[in-house]
Each structure stands twice: as C-alpha cells, then as structure tokens.
C-alpha cells in the first residue's frame, strides 16, 4: 500500500516568503524520499495589495538528479527556461485575494521552488507544500 508524506517548502527556514514586484525568490532545497514514486506541489499566493489586470505569478520547479558532470554537489537549473513551469497564476483585480494551484512534479533527488512575481507594483506572499506518494 502506498503511503503519503507532506513536506513544507521553506525559504531560509520560513514557511512563506514575500516576493516583491518584478522579482523572483528561490526556496530552500527540498529532498525527496528515496522511495517516492509520485509527487505533487501545491503553491499558495496571497496578494499584498491590488493587482493590475493581467498581472501574474509564476511557479517553477528546479529538480536535481544529482551531479551531472561530477564537478560539485547537487546541481539545479540556472534559469526558468530550463526549469519546469508549474503554473501561471493570474492575479485578477481583487484586493487580498488568495489563489492556489496543484501540479505534478518529478520526485528525483531534490528540488527548489522558484516564484516569479511578474506584477510591476504589488508584492505577494508565497508558500508551498509537497505531497509525496511513497512505495513501500
């Protein structure tokens, strides 16, 4: 029977992070269970003010299988071009809104979550958790 395990994504050990307008924030590294067979990531964003129409917040997952070229420790994609885009959350023109998405991710060795706040003027409070399905 499969088991489940919830993991909190953290930013410098905090459970959430304010991402200012037009900037990105990368989470701490999360390490998967060795016997994880599937995993999903839930992202929650709460606006700290009113967004303009078409403002979006994007979530990217940067996975690592380890060290591809033997040069150092675990390595991760450098840019969002090579990361896996999980979701693009459109922040409609409503103050203090909270939006969430759930996306499948690859349960390899470890990974990082990157939040890209594409708003020009409003910061966002981001948080996330991972649910692993473990195969005994």
């Amino acid at each position: 029977m499969l088991e489940i395990l919830e993991r909190q994504i953290t930013w410098s050990s905090a459970d959430s992070i304010y991402v200012s307008a037009g900037s990105t924030s990368t989470s701490d590294v999360v390490t998967f269970s060795s016997n994880a067979i599937k995993a999903h990531l839930q992202v929650k964003v709460a606006s700290a003010g009113s967004y303009n129409s078409y403002d979006t917040v994007q979530a990217f997952f940067f996975p690592s299988c380890g060290d591809p070229d033997g040069a150092s420790s675990n390595e991760y994609p450098y840019s969002i071009v090579c990361g896996k885009r999980l979701s693009t959350i459109r922040m409609v023109y409503i103050a203090s809104q909270v939006l969430q998405t759930v996306s499948p991710i690859v349960p390899v060795v470890s990974g990082k979550l990157v939040i890209f706040n594409r708003s020009a003027s409003t910061s966002v409070l981001a948080s996330a958790c991972i649910l692993e399905k473990l195969m005994p």
Binding site: D67, P68, D69, G70, C82, V109, M135
Partner: protein, 268 residues
C-alpha cells in the same frame, strides 16, 4: 523491501563529462538500466564556452537489446541520432550554462545523443540519471515473430505485414518495443517502414477469441528509415494489455528485413 533511488553517472569515453566541439554530434557510452528499475529521470547539463544564442540538444537512444536475435548483452542495437527522440535542449540564449531534468523511458540499455548547435564555441556536457528501483520488479524479453514463427521477415513491395500475436505477462506494468529494418541494397530517401501497435484486451463482444484492431485503428509507434541509417532501429513505449500484434507498413524501393522485440517490466 521498498522503492529506492540510485544515481547512475552517464560516461563519455569513461569520463564523467565531455567537451563537444562546435557543431559536433556524438553519443555517451552505453549504460544499462537495472532489471528492477520502474522509473528513471535524466539530468542533462551543458556549458557553452562563449556567449551565443544557440543550444545543445540531448536525445535518448534507447535499446531493448537485440531486436532480431538473442545477443542482448554482446550486441544491443541502438537507434541512430536521427531515430532518437529529443529529451530536451539547453538554450544558451539566456545563459552559457544551464541544465534540465526530464523523465526517460526505462529501457534495457541506453546512451544519450548530444548535438552542439553552436558553430563557434564548444559545449561541455554532463549527464546523470536517477533510477527508481523496486526489488519486486523484474524484466522479461518477448521476441516478436512473423509469418508463423520467423524472428526476421523479408518483405518487399508497397504493402504491409502483421506479426504473429504476442502475449504479455499478467503482471506486466510497462513495456517497450525495439523495431529494426535492414535494407539489403542501397537505401533511397523514401525507404522507410512505419510500425503500428495493435493491442488487445481480449474479446470485446464475447463472440470469439482475442480480437485486434486493424492497421487503420492501430497506434503508430515509429518509423524506421534505412536512408537515415541502415539498419534503422527505433525504440518506443507501448501499453501492456493482454497482448498485441505489430503491423509493418512499408514502402521501400527494394526488399527489407523487419524484426522486433519487446521488453516488459513485471511486478511479482
């Protein structure tokens, strides 16, 4: 007993990375998946030696072993670069070094094809793979036969051939097929064979034995062009039902020999 993760370093001539010259195309060393691997992910990294809006391609050249014989260990056969599906690319437009992770089918053996599209700079390439292994999983080879038991089948003319029916193990959870076409003459551009998978789940209407889709309703699994490489070898993922047949539709200018084998992952 439980699922475990294991890192497999992909080597290039024995080294953990290689430097691809400008415009170069090459392959990694061969590597073998464990029999008990049920999922795998490839991590591909490329670093261009200078700033240029170009990219480095990675392709999966996967093998089920020997499609037309039993020399799986000594003579596995791999798709050529042109017959290998794209895993992904590192776009150097946004940075000279980047990397990505992508699921990769669990074959019998494999190698990774790399192409440096830069005409100016070298690309340093490294790859590792994570295998998810479970001790209750093993693999089994199914040799597809044609025309009543032949491992290889010589065909000619603009027509098609259907393999003998094959049967999966009851506890099969995944399956992969290797397809091979050998052209005895000098191939021309239109010399290719399309392969289709006609699976069966049994008898839909209770009127007879297992029934199979005809070519028009079968699933296309791959095209072997002997012009691109002779012999042409293609790898594809198929769904293990009860069993199936392969249908080869060919249009070569001369006779070709077709063959195929399947690897199934079984859970005990």
């Amino acid at each position: 007993m439980q699922l475990t993760s294991e890192e497999l370093q992909v080597l290039f001539s024995g080294g953990v990375y290689t430097v691809m010259g400008s415009g170069a195309v090459g392959f990694s060393d061969e590597f073998a998946f464990h029999d008990d691997t049920i999922a795998a992910y490839a991590h591909c990294k490329a670093a261009l030696s200078g700033a240029e809006a170009e990219y480095t391609n990675f392709k999966a050249s996967l093998s089920i072993g020997d499609p037309d014989g039993s020399s799986d260990v000594a003579s596995p056969e791999f798709p050529s670069f042109s017959h290998s599906p794209l895993l992904g690319m590192v776009q150097h437009t946004y940075g000279q070094t980047d990397q990505f992770v992508v699921p990769i089918p669990v074959a019998y053996k494999g190698r990774i094809g790399v192409q440096n599209h830069s005409s100016t700079y070298t690309s340093s390439v490294g790859i590792c793979i994570i295998e998810k292994r479970h001790p209750r999983v093993s693999q089994n080879k199914i040799e597809v036969t044609w025309n009543g038991g032949s491992r290889s089948y010589l065909v000619s003319g603009n027509t098609s051939s259907t393999s003998d029916a094959f049967t999966f193990s009851d506890n099969a959870i995944a399956a992969f097929v290797g397809l091979k076409v050998s052209n005895g003459g000098t191939p021309v551009a239109a010399d290719y064979v399309d392969f289709y998978y006609a699976p069966t789940l049994g008898d839909p209407d209770g009127s007879s034995t297992a029934e199979y889709p005809a070519w028009a309703h079968a699933a296309w699994v791959g095209r072997c062009s002997t012009y691109a490489s002779n012999p042409g070898v293609v790898f594809a993922v198929i769904t293990p039902g009860i069993g199936g047949r392969l249908i080869a539709v060919y249009n070569p200018s001369q006779a070709v020999t077709i063959s195929a084998s399947i690897r199934e992952k079984v859970l005990s």
